[in-house]
Symmetry: C2
Subunit: 396 residues, 2 copies
């Protein structure tokens, strides 16, 4: 008696959740057993995390219960943490059990890349999960509360954001919006608060349209953000950061947004990786194990100019669609499709009512871009959860 | 040309604010110059502080702008911190100036009494001001956020409250109510949270009706509070508390409510004090300087059994009434009144919908007592700010 194939999806981020949703739709009953494994029983909307991190929105608006997204009659959900992947044995070791698979989808997401800068791991916080952003929010509020006990420590009101990429820029935009509110709440003079955004590259948002980047910087500077571009962080300490110039910025709060690498489990599993990301073929399969698909921040894929695509939600979601199609094809013995990313647009918010973006051939800024950002967020909610989710979590 | 007398009131707590309000009403124009000095530009409702400390109410509901209470055409308000009182020179030295007076009212409030227990000053927090309770609230939330980053530290979810007097009991009641909410907010299993209330005396709320105290303990134990009565805290450390029994309770949060003493400035000013409180005569004047009135937690006054009255809001307010009357009498050369406290009732809340109390000859508990507590709170708002303040800050 032949057994039906077992598909295990690791991670319910953008890539994993879209793969699961598409498989649920495309596969017929009894074509495969699909199991989705995730550390939490919720999916979180990573592109929204800069808001709860700054405290300008509630973390609940950045997560969705997985049980509300998938049909548990069609897909098994296991809430557990992956400890080890054994591609030779076709097994995944979980914190509390083991899963065997015929096909594996690795969508475990990224980890902060610290580029070996000493102290970042120990003393900096990251915008990477619901837990991490709640910590940042509470940490920031706690700094204000502590300052009212000991106003001889101005570093409590100094906030350092390392990295002026998308996440860094979006976070300082929100933080600058939150500061006046925190100052009112804690009776603090806003002039005492300092927000630094420090970036080693000569420009913020390297690779993005320079005119829009300039607009973003001027918007954020008007909100009080102090930029230090072309300035590397040499070290992070319990007291703040030391810059490559030797300058020390004393700060009770360092948030590092300077880079993303793939999950460490992948190297440990014996995959060939580059910064923790697995090179995949055009069908999104590992070049070493053709029953292992890799999507999202864990996958390394090059554009036509030979440069790796950035680890974005947009690409992860599109990979999920291709991945689900190719899994179905593999099971049915049909030909697979090649992954061809379509960059529809990129919008970065700069706080309330302000954003920059490129959508199609249009450059957007200000309120138009901010509106487009909300549309993109709602479109995503619609894709994964339909109208009910848009109504529950969407914001215009 | 004779100068009109100058009255300086130090502190806008219960005693000071009632004195100011009554003087404003009783004195005629040009009978005296009245100046009210306070560290903050708001008055806070100390008996309400256990709620914002636990996070069950917003700190704004526990404070009122002084400018909304006093008539600044009749009373000058100076926002400053008192550095020194020089009763011989009839001068008060402020952080940023000097005030001369003919009559002084000392209503500077109490300070935590640590009874020399090592570490309490350094590592424990106190429920004593808006700033201090915001710190406690933020500290507690930060513990939950940190626990989600490092769940190997159960002490982050252990909360120690030292002292089971009124403040301690009311605070643990609120905290026990807040915990389920925090657990939902931070995805924490409520079973991991521990609240200890530690009291050196053999009973909680020493001196209060034993039947009601027993009721309070059973209500709070049902909410999960662990009582350790007849147990002294030997030391407070960065890691928690060490008990007289030798037992160590590891805890990231220690809140000390175990005692109140008078303001340290009074000893430094040369007043004879007992635990920082100045013994006053029946007219509420210092026995050393008959132009200095002392009210509230700074004043020491004995009941008919020869025991000092407790430092309560009720007594401070009644002292304010007598003090204002006697100041007016002094200025007009009329006879002064003796202060005769009338204990109308005492109600302690035990969290949402629960309280115990004695009002007149009635023992109250449960919802009735909780309702009475709210009536008392509203009555106070009415006394200091009339109907508008009741509508703005009152809660039923």
């Amino acid at each position: 008696m032949s057994r039906i194939p077992r598909i295990v999806i690791l991670g319910a981020g953008y890539g994993g959740i879209v793969t699961a949703l598409r498989l649920q739709k495309e596969l017929n009953y009894n074509e495969a057993d699909v199991t989705l494994v995730n550390k939490h029983d919720y999916h979180y909307i990573t592109t929204h995390l800069h808001m709860p991190a700054a405290g300008t929105d509630h973390p609940e608006n950045a997560r969705v219960d997985i049980s509300k997204l998938i049909d548990e009659f069609k897909i098994d959900f296991v809430k557990s943490t992956v400890i080890e992947i054994r591609p030779q044995d076709r097994k995944v070791i979980l914190e509390d059990g083991t899963l065997s698979y015929d096909y594996l989808v690795v969508g475990l997401g990224g980890e902060p890349e610290t580029f070996g800068i000493p102290g970042l791991k120990e003393y900096a916080m990251n915008i990477r999960s619901i837990n991490s952003v709640r910590l940042i929010r509470e940490h920031i509020e706690y700094q204000f509360a502590q300052f009212k006990r000991d106003s001889s420590r101005p570093e409590l009101l100094t906030f350092v954001v390392g990295g002026a990429g998308f996440t860094g820029i979006e976070f300082v935009g929100e933080l600058a919006d939150r500061v006046p509110e925190l100052c009112r709440e804690f009776d603090v003079d806003p002039k005492l608060v300092k927000i630094y955004n420090i970036e080693a590259a000569p420009t913020a948002m390297p690779g993005f349209d320079p005119e829009l980047v300039q607009y973003a910087i001027s918007v954020l500077e008007k909100k009080g953000v102090i930029f230090k571009l072309a300035t590397a962080i040499k070290e992070c300490t319990p007291d703040g950061v030391v810059l490559a110039t030797g300058e020390e910025i004393k700060s009770g709060t360092v948030v590092w947004t300077g880079g993303i690498r793939g999950n460490r489990l992948l190297e440990e599993a014996g995959f060939e990786t580059m910064r923790g990301r697995i090179k995949v073929d055009k069908t999104l399969r590992s070049t070493q194990f053709d029953n292992v698909f890799v999507i999202g921040d864990c996958s390394l894929i090059f554009n036509e100019e030979g440069r790796p695509y950035p680890p974005t939600a947009q690409i992860a979601m599109q990979q999920g669609v291709t991945c689900a199609h190719n899994l179905t094809a593999a099971i049915r013995g049909e030909p697979m499709k090649e992954f061809k990313p379509q960059i529809k647009g990129t919008v970065a918010s700069l706080g309330k009512g302000e954003a920059i973006g490129i959508v199609g051939k249009y450059k957007l800024k200000g309120a138009t871009a901010a509106f487009m950002k909300k549309i993109i967020d709602m479109r995503y909610l619609y894709i994964i959860g339909g109208i009910p989710l848009v109504l529950r979590k969407g914001r215009l």
